[in-house]
Symmetry: C2
Subunit: 429 residues, 2 copies
């Protein structure tokens, strides 16, 4: 059976998708009896289209040419951005076409509007490539782990941050120098905000947490902290204690409420996530029946991501583009079914605290007094001379306490005269 | 929609399957609109059936009652063994019922006969629980990673062996004492042959390698070595070198041939598989586009395994028991499409060698002379006094060589008078 595909956007992932579809055309024909045909590729300019036209493909600068082409039954949106892709996907679904996207920001922001439209039109709307690149975590949550309920998720879902933290840890380098290196290697964007401030991770966590809990986790309600404030001292202290620092997405159900947040965290060195290094991504799930399970692999990159896009195309092809199996039910991905998010102040953690102070007597007494007034117990403490004269660095590890209490304590401590800079705080997971 | 299920075998996995289906009945109804109904459970005796009848389920000691019941559209075979389950599955498929099994030995042995029968009858025949317990590795290979071709597999797929090797490594204990402990904890059978001699791993590897290569890998042609000969010395030497010893299933394509084998192997300590400890299973895949990817989790146990059985039941339910999507194409799982297996002698590895000899002069010269006659280069060597007087243990690490040459060398070395016991040999991976 011939299946017509229209691809919008021929950047990195789009051109990887074209490559794989051409390379494996005969393989899919033989294995599944499916003839995937790239009917049209669409880009903003003829320059971008030139290499694809050179391959014999039909190119257009008008997305409408894809929408109105009756030979196209699967539209692949790989353009990026929010508003235009949203309107294209709406048009495609309304026109009875199936849709595949890799656009996590779009799913996190507009999924709640697009999934019902897909259901209404009985069309597939798949997005395996949106989280974890080529790791099949979306399909695992939607289809493979249906014998389980997901109790919690801990995940490393931003390769840029994981690369930076791994390099800082392995080479003892500072954040800024590793970031510059990552930018020169193409692992970080010129404007790294989206990655290093945790926004990309939060988009992905919103999707995973919604699939895991079957309740809509609103990206805007997720507490987000990035990795800019992590320094070499923190990483070295963590290692001394047998821990590593990772930027994690964290989801769990706490007494009926949903705890979803993105922040750097201290992980025990023997945790399965602790050895996930470099640009690798990993998703660690705790489920009711299977228990803990981990999937890891390339979370970004041309071909890893494109391979997930192609897997979605194959899934639609196998299920029959004209009907057959119903789309995966996504009714729960709706603003009308919101998860009740636990405010960050009400979450509980053990904390790593780093105080940089002037070298005065009474510093420790003042800090510990404020902590104890909030009922926070200190489990261990290390004091070290600082590279700069007359300064000391004090690191404390607390027992588990409510974050609200910790925030109140730190607010008070930060007003003390001997504090050289605001206290740094990292949660244990 | 109501979907009738007949379960044959109510041992550990069967009763876990009943529990999950009952527990999640309302959840599946709400999420998928599917009402999974356990129409009948079947066991050898009324005693075994009593607790299920007490739950209000219909029990029978006659498998025929399931086969002839028109309300049953999915037959779940969890009885174990080969011949009877094979005939039941044939009957069920012929009668137009879908089949789910957790029986890896059956799939490895009779899959090539049963998959064509399922295809002919247009019925699903699913087996997610057969490999890796609840880890969704079968579905990943069949459906989620279809944008990739699998170049190689390395896997830890026997929890008993992984538990024993982990304990030996962490506690410095001997094989026999850890085995006894594993038996008392229920992690090893009274007759542990199937597990510790690698047979169970080879059944599972045959399935994974067939799915990965899309060519039939015959279980009977897989080279199998178990873990009985691994001793504390080997594990200690491995650790000194920065390696761990794991029982691995290994598959790769080598110049058009298939290399498939099960044996203990030395893995670098920083390999993703190296930290998979205890009863955990893990499958490490190298693919053309995604690159390396790992899935890990509970590879055995009542609820982990049952959760995979239930995921298969849900998959069939969602696809519509009366038709809809075609079964996953398994035409390649056929004796008519055999993989060309590379004989073990033609594989290449670096080797760890342990020689236990009398303490004589000239021992080292004699051993190295034979190795060099076969063209085998020694990369490093450690000689240590043995606990017993007048004995020494020599450990050598060789460069990569053809296994056939190594076997010839060891055959000669083992005839030398000073050898106290045959040389031990472990491959690096």
């Amino acid at each position: 059976m011939q299946i017509g595909i229209g691809i919008i956007g021929v950047g990195t992932v789009g051109s990887g998708t074209v490559d794989i579809l051409l390379e494996k055309k005969a393989y899919y024909q033989e294995l599944y009896g499916l003839d995937f045909n790239i009917t049209m590729v669409c880009a903003r300019t003829d320059e971008e289209l030139a290499p694809f036209r050179a391959l014999g493909l039909t190119g257009s600068t008008q997305v409408q040419d894809i929408m109105t082409n009756p030979a196209i039954s699967i539209v692949v949106e790989l353009a990026g951005g929010y508003e235009l892709p949203k309107s294209w996907i709406e048009q495609a679904l309304t026109a009875g076409k199936h849709v595949v996207t890799a656009n996590k920001a779009l799913i996190a922001k507009y999924g709640a509007q697009l999934f019902p439209l897909a259901a209404k039109n009985k069309r597939h709307f798949l997005f395996e490539a949106a989280v974890g690149g080529g790791i099949p975590i979306i399909r695992s949550l939607q289809e493979a782990l249906t014998g389980n309920s997901v109790n919690s998720i801990k995940c490393i879902i931003n390769g840029t941050c994981n690369y930076i933290l791994t390099e800082m840890s392995q080479k003892g380098s500072a954040f800024a120098s590793v970031l510059a290196e990552a930018q020169s290697l193409g692992y970080a964007e010129a404007d790294p905000t989206f990655d290093v401030d945790g926004i990309d991770s939060a988009h992905k966590l919103a999707i995973l947490a919604t699939l895991g809990s079957k309740q809509y986790v609103d990206f805007n309600k997720i507490h987000i902290e990035g990795i800019r404030r992590i320094n070499e001292t923190d990483i070295a202290f963590a290692r001394e204690m047998g821990f590593v620092i990772k930027l994690l997405g964290v989801f769990s159900k706490v007494e009926g409420k949903t705890d979803a947040r993105v922040h750097p965290a201290l992980l025990p060195g023997d945790h399965l996530l602790a050895s996930v290094n470099g640009v690798l991504n990993a998703v660690y799930l705790e489920t009711d029946h299977l228990g803990p399970t981990l999937q890891t692999g390339a979370g970004a990159g041309k071909y890893p991501t494109a391979s997930a896009v192609v897997a979605d195309i194959v899934a639609i092809g196998r299920q029959g583009v004209k009907g057959g199996m119903s789309p995966i039910p996504m009714d729960f991905f709706s603003e009308g079914n919101p998860a009740d998010l636990l405010p960050i102040e009400e979450t509980s953690s053990a904390f790593y605290l780093r105080f940089t102070t002037r070298d005065e007597t009474g510093v420790l007494a003042s800090i510990t007094k404020i902590l104890s007034q909030q009922g926070i117990s200190v489990e261990s403490m290390i004091q070290k001379g600082h590279q700069k004269k007359d300064r000391v660095v004090i690191v404390m590890v607390t027992q588990v306490c409510k974050e609200g209490l910790m925030r109140q304590a730190l607010e008070q401590i930060n007003t003390l005269n001997f504090m050289v800079q605001p206290a740094a705080m990292i949660r244990f997971i």
